[in-house]
């Protein structure tokens, strides 16, 4: 990535004023990156930006409130930052945002599917078009386009929507693309019992680790989440699908009008439950009813925290 050096340069320039800058670096194997907290100049050398930079680092910002934080953001991540600003959970003056032109990040589960497993990756070469992975004495080439996360294929904000420094050439908003809810719509075509059964089956394996919640940049309640409280007592701690499903609904509803579909919830899930669909459905409704999209305007008020006396797109039931 050519802009990477430019980015490192500009991070090291501002670093003196900052307590920490968050980016990505290599992880336990060549197929994974991990969040990288840079405090000293030498940390910057480790910075690596690639299609493996999947993590939405905005998740860390509320926890670092009060500190001077620099953050490297993909287009989608930057929308989470916008939301956090909108809900004054972070202070603009304390956050320095580094943007770069993002060409998309991989979906690890797609790679896993393609390769059968990813337990022994020895090396991984990446180009704009392909992933060349060496494993089990075999070299396999995967088309990048097919390995990209779904959100990337329909991405309309490849460049950060908000940034203080931008490294590299902006790709420019692909405004013409529209969010793609085909998956949701397809799912809705299923019969009632099919839909009902699907979630029971999927959520059965949920281990209630709440990675989906804690990876979510907008689940700001964190330690006070209703999921584990007795007052209010929404959920029991029993291992039952009812409570697991209910939690997903709580999560989705509390994100209504806030969620930017960064997909961290689903990515974080250690047992690969497709929990993103709940949020996509909410967003689809929010868009249709309120023509609202989260994470683009720090000044906006989310639709569920406001109202109109006459709602153009709500037709009430006649009895």
């Amino acid at each position: 990535m050519k802009f990477q050096e430019e980015l490192k340069k500009c991070i090291s320039d501002v670093m003196p004023e900052l307590d920490v800058v968050i980016g990505w670096c290599a992880s336990f194997d060549p197929l994974h990156a991990t969040p990288h907290f840079m405090r000293r100049k030498e940390d910057i050398d480790k910075l690596e930006i690639s299609p493996l930079s999947v993590h939405n680092l905005a998740t860390y910002l509320p926890g670092l409130r009060g500190k001077k934080v620099g953050i490297v953001v993909k287009g989608c991540d930057s929308r989470s930052v916008v939301e956090l600003l909108q809900e004054n959970l972070i202070d603009r003056k304390d956050v320095t945002i580094f943007g770069f032109p993002c060409t998309g990040v991989v979906d690890q589960s797609k790679i896993k599917k393609a390769l059968g497993h990813t337990g022994n990756v020895e090396s991984c070469e990446m180009s704009d078009t392909a992933l060349v992975i060496k494993m089990d004495d075999k070299t396999q080439t995967l088309a990048m386009a097919e390995m990209l996360a779904d959100k990337c294929s329909s991405c309309r904000y490849p460049d950060a929507v908000i940034s203080d420094y931008f490294a590299g050439e902006k790709i420019g908003n692909k405004g013409e693309k529209d969010v793609d809810y085909a998956a949701v719509e397809a799912f809705e075509k299923l019969s009632v019992p099919e839909r009902f059964g699907y979630w029971l089956k999927e959520l059965d394996r949920c281990i209630r680790c709440y990675a989906c919640r804690n990876a979510c940049p907008l689940c700001v309640c964190r330690d006070h989440c209703a999921a584990e409280s007795r007052d209010p007592h929404w959920l029991s701690q029993e291992n039952n699908v009812r409570d697991k499903l209910m939690f997903q609904v709580i999560h989705a509803y509390h994100l209504a009008g806030r969620c930017t579909e960064c997909g961290e919830c689903q990515r974080a899930c250690p047992v690969d439950i497709p929990v993103l669909m709940f949020k996509q459905k909410m967003n689809q409704e929010i868009r249709e009813i309120f023509q609202y999209e989260a994470g683009v305007d720090p000044e906006a008020t989310p639709p569920l925290l406001s109202f109109k006396m006459e709602e153009e797109n709500i037709t009430e039931k006649v009895w």
Partner: protein, 351 residues
Amino acid sequence: MGLVKYLKSADLTPWLEELAQENKVFAPRYEGDAVIFAPFDPKQEISIKHAATMPPKKTVFPQSEKLVDFTYSKDPEDLSRVMIEGKEVLPEGTAVVFGGRPCDVRGFTMFDRVYLAEKTTDVYYKARRDNTSFITLACEKPETTCFCHWVGSSPYDATGSDVLATPIEDGYVLESFSPKGQKLLTSKLLENGDRWISKGQEVNENAVESLTDAPDLSRAPQKLLDVFDNMNFWEKAAAKCLSCGACAYLCPSCYCFNITDETTGMKGTRFRSWDNCMSAQFTMEASGHNPRPTKAHRLKNRVGHKFSYYPGIHDGVISCCGCGRCIKSCPVGIDIREIVQEAINHEPAIG
């Protein structure tokens, strides 16, 4: 040396079906994109090519289990006199877990030291532990995240297992390591395995070959105590932690739980459910005070417990089985190996 038998790959399913007649059999299979241990169902293909996403922990230590069912009743003479009657719900039936890996099964030995201690035996755990036998699959090739050999184990370690199955071309060498194991190997489908033993050993040795050298962790317990108060160290280590429970819940050797009561009307149940020390609630006190207020404190506890405090009271045994799931499944790729090594190599600043 116990019984040694040979099983043709083709006979695996029939054998499991056979076992399923007297036992509840658990075997790994795909649920969505995850491989988890589920009640064996001949109609559904099992998946044992690679270590499962989830260890078979829940087969002995369920995600949540009923401890007591209780009912209130009233004295018809005086409604304000309420009697409560509790019924202990002990697990019943025997189970066989097929397809766990040495690390997975060895994990239970960490449980045993805690839950089977004779003064404080956990009856629920004991019941399941006694009634469950493990047919463990030796690993042919460790993954990048594997480090069982760091913590005193190996790809064909049979500790905690009743039968160790080593895959060889089109079959398995089965060796029993307990009376329970011997019973499991009485099936007609199995033939004597002596002539296959060498093949099995070959596979085991290759596996060991492919391991990278393990660092010496003997200083870990002390070193971790040394950095106990160095919050700076832990804050760095925990910086990217999301304090979710994935690591603990996927860990074959994490055994913490929470107990809650749920009541509807005049009936209620006391549940025991998994809990994890990464969650803020874990140490939250009724007063509202939390002795482990930050994720740094909490990560310190998890690493410290496994590599220092537990060994400290359990004759040096590290309560980590090196399966590497906490690394592989961590949403942000925290690597416990790194942290332990950093601790070991950490030199306190002079002065």
